[in-house]
Amino acid sequence: MRIRRGPGRQAAAGWLFVTPFTILLVAFLLLPMAYAAKLSLYRSTLVEGEVFAWLDNYRQALGDPELRRGVVRVIVFGVVQTPVMIALALAFALIIDHATSRLSRFFRLAAFVPYAVPVVIGTLMWGFLYSPRTGLFSALGNPDFLSSDWVLYSLGNVVTWQWAGYNMIVLYAALQGLPREVYESARIDGAGPLQIALRIKTPMISAAIVLVTIFTIIGTLQFFTEPLILQPLNPGAITNSYTPNVYAYHQAFSYQQYNYSAAISFLLGAVVFIGSYIFLFVTRRRSALR
């Protein structure tokens, strides 16, 4: 039975097919964004209830020293941890691309397995390993990995452990997609494996390097789970305002400051959103997401 034919029928089906996705997009992305924006413009008071407060919450956020410290902390973390991890991932990817042996196949798996583990459990395991009572480092005189001087590095290690292998696989996949002839000819010209890796392979996968860097930076700005899990081990070092996301969470659930929390969430979302597009735009020649 043929009912309607041609573009009319296709148009109806097209709309029908994208409807579930569109509903979800509105309900769980656009509406929450709009709602957060609205909440962030109000202030809840005991006497008057909800009152319109213009940009007071944002003014408070920009002048809030705790939030500022959290922002500086994730930036410092990102500036140190991101390059270290991407450099490690790139080095591993170049090594496993060059060396084909049983060890390199095993290493590829070993490096990637931490990615399959929930962040909560990865962090729990490192929490035990750092602990002076159950940990590994009694031979080193039990350095206090969770003291306020060291905890950022300890968190950096957890993140690197969990994500270096993932980034390695992405870069490795890009390397595997390169045409082999290019470095065959470089080899004939007398280039060694190290020169080929650094001068030929690395520039050729710059698009993938940019991509993993963006995703790492986005993840860093939203840093939440690792500090929240380790918080009970040293609440003096990992404070309730340790990162912007931890701060927003505690503002909502420990202090019931929903309006202020919404303003922080909205600011954070906007910064990540605008930041990633600026980054994409600046690096667009090299980016795969053109």
Binding site: Q10, F17, V18, F21, P118, Q176
Partner: protein, 305 residues
């Protein structure tokens, strides 16, 4: 973005790979193998520690060498303590994690398949505008949305239910983008036309022509959504307060919190937490080893231009 490869294995088969000289034992080869050996130890060390720790009771956990057996062999005692602690709540958490990840995984994949196919292959008014909106929003960070979504859902009384975790997990803009790109390249227009001429309705065309052609990409999206939901922490942490509804991640964190703060005999929980962590990651590691092909395939997308 010209080619998108879903399957890492076929990428390698497609490019003619000249035989590499594997018999060379230069200094570089030794150095790179040393690096790999050392770093493999680093990546696997926490797992080895977990395996050893799961065989110890609390005394052994605190007093024996961390990387070897010590004290009484208590693996089975730990497991039975794990499954009986708080009336077997761990099993509920395990079941919740499975439920959330299976329902979200299949649901999100179905939604993304329909939308991705429609964006790639069906002509309808507003298609380009809607797809541009999607692309524009793909970079909105999901964690910044968790608190607003919670506040919104609490207005309509939907928090603290399984839907509070499942419904937001169904939205996967990146999956839609991925399936659009894949459908565009891998679903042949002639076959769609042929099916239409044979009188098949649009849904029939989608099911019998497009879906089979999109299979590798569908498996990848399914796998990634399931693992993402299984591992998710922030969303269920915020949405749920009834511990019967917790997934494993939130449940283990509550135990860890009471154990480290040491309130109310919480310290006795450490061996249970270790056993619980081990049991929680075993299905993931098995799935990961069995489905390696798809994992790597999924990561190739976006990286390959």
């Amino acid at each position: 973005m010209s080619t998108v490869t879903m399957d890492g294995a076929s990428t390698r088969a497609a490019a003619p790979v000249p035989r590499r000289r594997t018999a060379r034992f230069g200094a570089g080869r030794i150095a790179s193998h040393a690096v790999m050996a050392v770093m493999a130890v680093y990546f696997l060390l926490p797992f080895w520690w977990l395996l050893m720790a799961a065989t110890k009771n609390n005394d052994g956990l605190f007093d024996s060498r961390p990387l070897w057996f010590g004290g009484d062999f208590s693996l089975f005692d730990n497991l039975s303590a794990l499954f009986t602690q708080s009336d077997g709540i761990y099993l509920k958490w395990l079941r919740n994690s499975a439920l959330y990840s299976v329902v979200s995984g299949f649901g999100a994949t179905a939604v993304a398949a329909l939308a991705g196919y429609a964006f790639a292959k069906l002509e309808f008014r507003g298609r380009n505008a809607l797809f541009a909106t999607l692309l524009g929003l793909i970079m909105v960070p999901m964690t910044a949305l968790v608190l607003p979504t919670y506040l919104l859902m609490s207005e309509i009384g939907l928090t603290d239910s399984i839907w509070a975790v499942i419904l937001p997990s169904l939205l996967n803009p990146f999956g839609v983008y991925l399936l659009r790109v894949y459908a565009h390249d891998s679903v042949p227009d002639e076959m769609l036309e042929a099916a239409r001429i044979d009188g098949a309705g649009e849904f029939r065309v989608f099911r019998s022509v497009a879906l089979p052609a999109m299979r590798p990409a569908l498996v990848t999206v399914l796998l990634f959504t399931m693992v993402a939901t299984w591992n998710n922490f922030f969303l269920p942490l915020v949405m749920l307060s009834n511990d019967d509804l917790f997934p494993l991640t939130v449940g283990l964190r509550t135990w860890y919190q009471s154990a480290t703060i040491g309130s109310g005999g919480g310290e006795a929980l450490f061996n249970v937490i270790v056993a619980g962590s081990l049991v929680a990651i075993i299905p993931l590691i098995i799935a990961f080893l069995m489905l390696q092909r798809y994992w790597r395939g999924g990561l190739t997308i976006g990286a390959v231009k």
